[in-house]
Symmetry: C2
Subunit: 158 residues, 2 copies
């Protein structure tokens, strides 16, 4: 589906409120990422991180893969959000996030199941569930995934 080139618009109108449908945005940060190789090779940020990538089903190859990179993104985003929520509630940062990603094949082809598990040892389970729910609704990566039934979040018992 061809769609509006939102990112380009944002790049031009730096520091001004943006219009995306009926929502107003202020740009805080932007970054560019490339994969020119495909399944086996490198993906990179110009003047930044480069990662070797390889077929996750070939165990002799050393690279990371989209499953792990998505889990690194989600776990960091979710835990950074939990850290902000802990700070707002005068709590020390004890939250940890574990993401399990499963590649499955079904009638609609390949899919990823993404399951985030949150533990917050310093508070009760009931309070941890509340804070997890807040993080799920505030974390930008969680918001992006929230339209998929393949994305689930769980609060772990201590």
């Amino acid at each position: 589906m061809q769609a509006l080139h939102l990112a380009g618009t944002l790049a031009v109108e730096e520091a001004f409120p943006m219009d995306n449908s009926d929502k107003k945005f202020r740009k805080l940060y932007e970054t560019d990422i490339y994969n020119k190789d495909g399944l086996n090779g490198y993906a990179y940020v110009p003047n930044g991180i480069a990662v070797a990538v390889s077929n996750p089903r070939n165990e002799t190859m050393p690279g990371t893969n989209p499953e792990q990179l998505l889990g690194l993104s989600l776990s960091t985003c979710m835990n950074a959000t939990l850290q902000a929520i802990e700070r707002e509630n005068d709590l020390d940062h004890t939250a940890e996030v574990h993401v399990h990603v499963t590649m499955v094949k079904g009638t609609d082809g390949l899919e990823f199941l993404v399951h985030a598990m949150v533990s917050i040892p310093s508070v009760s389970y009931e309070r941890a569930v509340e804070l997890t729910n807040q993080a799920e609704q505030r974390c930008p990566v969680s918001k992006l995934l929230s339209g998929s039934i393949n994305y689930t979040v769980e609060t772990l018992q201590n």
Copy 2:
């Protein structure tokens, strides 16, 4: 929102068809990813990749961030899918994927705008649009993001 622990179910019932709502799945691969530090520190896969992460708005810190990690995941997944589609069509692999991620702040808090740009130099623009559309519908990361209006895909002119 508390949800079913799908991943756990899948881990137990290895090699058997899985039931997720009304869909049947066969598991092909699974991986675990952790962030215990939050915004600044490390995220890692046990016995696998570890990445330094840091606040994207603090330019003196060297780490990567959820924006870049998501872009690495999406660009690799999309280009691996394009590579498979090229192979099915007896085309050499020439596809490249560039992802631009923008962090914005709006009335609903922080959000990421994710824009994927596909170029396939070996075919006409019209054919490249067709192949991009196929990849968008088959790539598992693209499927996960497809419920968000913040995710857009564009085919670039050669």
